[in-house]
Symmetry: C2
Subunit: 199 residues, 2 copies
């Protein structure tokens, strides 16, 4: 009569929908608690799973988080192409302002872990950073084709630093979460002049 309880744990695979839901919950917890304070207990509670299930499938917090970053729904930047570089950058400012272009709380939650954990860094880079760098390169390539900027203007290589840097430092320097108005001012004051575009 102990057949059921002593049977090996059932290894039913989670459905893809359930996995996706779980990755979403992990990303939410990273935003709220940050990586260092995130526990498998909290993931289990939030997702109404057992810790045994979590460990069986992902083996460690690090692996679960890295997988969630790779498979979870990314903050999506639709291809921005308004026909001019100032237009593209200001469109990006709006999307940064409404939170749809850069996931600031997630970056913050991973900031420390990112620097000391190369698995997480790789996952974040692959999932969140590379696609955006590609988008920015295309945006600048089109601007060079339209002769809005010189193809070899040195500031072009640093566009990602300029834009992401403004996003992450606004909170540190002004105690305000970044908004579109700030980004519009920054683009006009810094990014466009650095690229040689005057208003």
């Amino acid at each position: 009569m102990t057949t059921y309880s002593s049977a090996p744990a059932r290894r039913t695979r989670l459905t893809p929908e359930r996995e996706q839901e779980l990755y979403g919950a992990v990303i939410d917890l990273l935003r709220e608690a940050g990586y260092d304070a995130l526990t498998m207990d909290a993931v289990a509670v939030r997702t109404r799973s057992s810790k045994a299930t979590l460990y069986r499938q992902w083996s460690s917090k690090q692996n679960l988080v890295a997988t969630a970053l790779k498979r979870g729904k990314a903050v999506h930047v639709e291809n921005v192409d308004t026909g001019s570089l100032p237009g593209d950058l200001h469109e990006l400012a709006d999307r940064i302002g409404d939170g749809s272009a850069v996931d600031v709380p997630l970056i913050r939650g991973l900031a420390h872990a990112f620097a000391i954990n190369s698995n997480l860094a790789e996952a974040l880079r692959q999932h969140m950073i590379e696609p955006k760098l590609t988008g920015v390169r295309q945006m600048l390539g089109r601007a060079a084709d339209r002769e809005e900027i010189e193809a070899d203007v040195p500031a072009a290589d640093f566009m990602p630093h300029m834009m992401l840097g403004a996003v992450v430092t606004h909170r540190l320097l002004e105690d305000m979460e970044v908004d579109a108005a700030f980004m519009h001012r920054y683009i006009d004051a810094v990014a466009l002049p650095a690229l040689g575009i005057s208003r």
Copy 2:
């Protein structure tokens, strides 16, 4: 004969030297572990204190960390004044490169806590950020006096974002800790052109 053991805990104040040593250890632990993973146990072990002493004097981890940030030895930026703005910025680049101008590991260790804990944010801002903003404003004021830049050039307001943004994003974008060579390139490509100074 129980006089000694039942006497109230001795409230010998720590010597200033001992306090300073303790704050330094807290800052070191913040760099290594980050705020969220920092424990009073770890502080006690590192500083060879008892947890009782720590709690008696600082009452909570948050209060201990905030005090350590306010009283600890700051990463010091000597007043940079080379006689020209490009010179000043490139001097700053060297100091960023050798770690003496910006404490990147500490900023990273506090990134998440900073956004959700206003006490810590206030301590970090007061201790590490405001003095640097003042230094940058003075640097730009001298440049305007020398007529190197126009006094109302819009990029001037964003100098701290440009410089700190480059520092914190280099690791995220290139997987390399910031160094002086990168900062020199960034200053020539972005900061000086944005301010209207061409090489």
